[in-house]
Symmetry: C2
């Protein structure tokens, strides 16, 4: 198909397709003349993935490139692969003070998550002082409650990962990390509204 | 205390305090001369809240103002109050097509969340096509699994809300909505890494 048809199939303007081609987010088409190229179904699939990562996932063009490269040429360990997905997801955690970092480390230990020692805990550490400001009656109990639910969620996600084809495994793990997050937040916000309405009246 | 002491207590530069004062995120101090004002503990508390909403919560200055106004002068219904917190949390959902919106409405119905009919479902609707791209074996089952966990999380959050003092109830509900979200995401990302390491090796 020509570039116009590719754009139509992806539901984006031709200019957006050209931009993604220039940025290397889409592989080049097969040249059919000096100024025209032909694209195929793999381009449509890739365009839809880029659109989802940038649009709903909220990733920058640079972060999208990192994620796509990780999918195409996976780093040697799952730890590194997920590290790339997590960095892409950013935003960069605000600087966490050493006390908060030590606290985050102690929590991970208590939850028995057995993380790679290099796993950055800055995001969790930065979220802790903010969580304190809510003034929950027992923050440690709330943290444990959240951790148990997130561990259950992650177990379910990882159980669904297909393992027959390594490339597909990688694509699945990374896209689940990035693309299910907006879903989770949308659901949490709606669930809170439902629970509030139930307790306090509409 | 003077403005310098307030800034020190909040761990921000004096310029930031002045900016928050100008934007109305901090109430003015009590004037002690034409150029000096005195601040008290309520300013420290408010400064820490603004810092958390802007920093970890990632809210814009305008959205922070909306949230603070909702805390100070709550709208008449919990539905409107949470609506303000949700809008502040943005980002604005990408335009959702009518099919996705109908699907979101059907899901909410199936989960029995009994939401106010005006509750915007755009964010959920926009997240659905992106979730489809992950290629989970049975998306409906995954959505139900997420919904059950988010409903449980929300029930726990709402159970913790103090109800003796209406102003405190409002402050709690809104800050829990905004400030526990970064915590949740940080935990989900770490939990996924832990679960992946367990299944696929570190």
């Amino acid at each position: 198909m020509r570039i116009g048809e590719l754009a139509r199939r992806g539901g984006v303007p031709v200019g957006t397709v050209k931009y993604y081609l220039r940025e290397g987010l889409l592989p080049p088409g097969e040249l059919t003349s000096a100024t025209q190229a032909r694209y195929d179904e793999r381009h449509v699939e890739r365009l839809n993935l880029v659109k989802a990562l940038v649009g709903v996932g909220g990733l920058s063009i640079a972060a999208t490139g990192d994620v796509l490269r990780a999918i195409e040429k996976p780093p040697p360990t799952v730890h590194e692969l997920l590290g790339i997905a997590c960095s892409a997801l950013g935003p960069d955690a605000p600087e966490a003070d050493p006390d908060a970092l030590a606290r985050a480390r102690a929590l991970i230990e208590r939850w028995g998550w057995g993380l790679h020692p290099d796993t950055p805990l800055d995001q969790l550490a930065a979220a802790l002082p903010a969580a304190e400001m809510v003034g929950v009656p027992d923050l440690d109990a709330t943290l444990d409650r959240y951790a148990a639910l997130m561990a259950e969620l992650a177990r379910g996600d990882i159980d669904e990962v297909p393992i027959d084809n390594p490339a597909e495994t990688v694509r699945f793990v990374v896209t689940a990390m990035v693309l299910l997050e907006p879903l989770l937040l949308a659901m949490r916000r709606l669930a809170q509204q439902a629970a509030s309405a139930r307790r306090f009246g509409g």
